[in-house]
Symmetry: C2
Subunit: 349 residues, 2 copies
DNA sequence: ATGAAAGCGCTAACAG
DNA sequence: CTGTTAGCGCTTTCAT
């Protein structure tokens, strides 16, 4: 490994000068500068990032906490985060908590402030106390996609209007003429999808439609979860002509369930999701959903984090910042249509 | 930020002792040990990973080079890599090259050997010269899923028998009774899918079936790519009863194309993929495919990398290691069936 | 315009 | 058992 000292010697200068030309900081003579550059080139020198970090008192990475990168939503987000991070010279370390708060804590304990300068958290089922602790220890934390505006997180966050997303999807179904609309709401435990559901309820109420308790099901936030919930829901309530799901994955599962029940989508059943993951456009029938500004949220989150890092602001010093993204928007595709007057009876699979 | 010195002072010992208890290395008195532990606890001390890395002359992370984490295959792999990496105390930095060799080089230049102790490369369209350079600079490189056994990469790698995968899928189709089988092969440029295709050809040959040039199409390795290729291929050659795709994503696209052409899968057309990504089991009809041991490959790759790091072996010192995973295996699902004698004519969409 | 020197937080011999 | 002493590679005042 070639060090800055070797470069210096090779160029007949001191390390300080090399450092100066490297960061175009100090005033360095053109001729010396060139000699240094040549030496760097000749020796194939690359600055040692860890050493630099230590000397500068900063860390070269950002930590991205997710529950599992295998969830199809995260990669799209992670990609956007990485792009934004590179722009500020940071690398991103991916931290899968596997839904386990203890894993999350272990990560935070180890890297926050020592290897990572800040941490971005996506819904990763983390202990808020741990997050506040890592803040207190000097590593800013930002929540990347806060869903509950009425329940401020006490941490800097970027927020997306998910209630609006819920309203948009529900309104679309209602405008199409659906009256008996079922709902599949994900993540009951964390309650993270509550605003989406409330948006749905609000839209129903605005249309003077009642949501029947027996028409809503909670399900894990997966294709499987949506499948099971929809299968059960549709079997028990054949009068339903449309399904509102709080997320794309369960919506996709619902479409599969419909297929297995002999229900055509959108002929016999309309289905909507929320998020607009890549899969939503790539599956058949393509999913009507409400697109959430993922890339924008990622960029905002990184920007916010950078600011916190730069100003060295301890979140306790101020009211937690909350950046809001542009509003989600409806994307109509092939999984929704007006209801048929006559529904085929559902055959059991 | 609390440092090891503060802990030492608080406990009435020297930093060396603190370091010793931290890494349970030196022989430390039980009572002193406890005092140190208490101090650590009281002060909320966490070792500074960058400083430690510098002092130890090693880096705490591994770099994972992928073309784009948004490709549905990578997250599953990345998850397995991360698990394995954690086991050896490494964090993983995700490097999206975006298919651009220059981005790849930029990453390698910056982190290899200084922030990352080693680099794992998934098909990321990297310049081999760059990889050899980073090796020479002291950061071991391992190829995570080498596809071409006959074309040794000159780098330590873990290899998967993709030719076998191709044979398995083709044989399945043949055994089902298909005779006119089309092929959609991905990634023409990198030629990375060649062995898969050769496996297909071998199986056809073994069954005394000829593969017609007009029955094979090259396509980008995406759902879209598979869709377009299949649509064109099926329109032009209605006699085809089965499609062999070298990857799951294009296979899924082919299924969509079939749907749009009014062809039932598997009634009118059988389709196979390779890899068995999560999506393969979650889409409908569920995809018959050949499962590649992703997690195993990830684990092997990390193991191999760790060995290279530990022994400090310069790859030029030895014949490049090549670990082979267990063989891929056929997973029959709902996208394949015996051919119908009478095929419905394809209607144009 | 360049050099000397101190130090970032930690580890690793070696002494005692 | 514990303390002392040197760095790891780089940056950064402060001199010159």
């Amino acid at each position: 490994m070639t060090t800055i000292n070797e470069v210096a010697r090779h160029a007949g200068v001191t390390p300080a000068t090399v450092s100066n030309v490297l960061r175009s900081r100090g005033r360095v003579g053109a001729e010396t500068r060139q000699r240094v550059l040549d030496a760097i080139d000749a020796l194939g020198y690359r600055p040692h990032l860890a050493a630099r970090a230590l000397a500068e008192g900063r860390a070269p990475t950002l930590a991205l906490m997710v529950s599992s990168i295998a969830n199809p939503f995260y990669p799209e987000f992670a990609l956007a985060v990485e792009r934004a991070a590179r722009a500020s010279g940071h690398f991103v370390i991916i931290c899968n908590t596997n839904e386990d708060p203890l894993m999350g804590r272990a990560y935070l304990d180890q890297i926050a402030g020592t290897l990572s300068e800040g941490v971005l958290v996506m819904n990763a089922n983390l202990d808020f106390a741990d997050l506040h602790l890592t803040e207190a220890r000097g590593a800013p934390v930002v929540l990347c996609m806060w869903e509950k505006p009425n329940d401020p997180p006490g941490l800097p966050s970027v927020a997306v209007d998910f209630a609006l997303a819920g309203r948009l999807a529900a309104s679309h179904l209602i405008e199409l003429g659906h009256r008996r609309i079922g709902a599949i709401v994900g993540s009951k435990v964390s309650g993270i999808h509550t605003p989406r559901y409330e948006g749905f309820v609000a839209a129903m109420k605005a249309a003077h439609l009642t949501v029947h308790a027996e028409h809503v099901r909670h399900a894990p936030d997966t294709v499987q979860g949506g499948y099971a919930a929809a299968h059960e829901l549709l079997s028990a309530n054949p009068e339903i002509t449309a399904l509102f799901a709080t997320n794309d994955l369960p919506a996709l599962g619902a479409i599969h369930a419909a297929a297995d029940l002999g229900l055509a989508v959108p002929g016999d059943l309309s289905v909507t999701g929320i998020t607009d993951i890549q899969l939503a456009r790539e599956s058949r029938p393509a999913l009507t959903t409400v697109a959430v500004p993922t890339a924008e949220a990622a960029k905002l989150a990184v920007t916010l984090l950078r600011e916190l890092i730069a100003t060295g602001t301890r979140p306790s010093d101020m009211a937690p910042v909350l950046y809001e993204t542009s509003p989600p928007r409806l994307v109509v595709r092939a999984s929704t249509a007006p209801p048929r007057s006559a529904r085929r009876p559902s055959r059991s699979r």
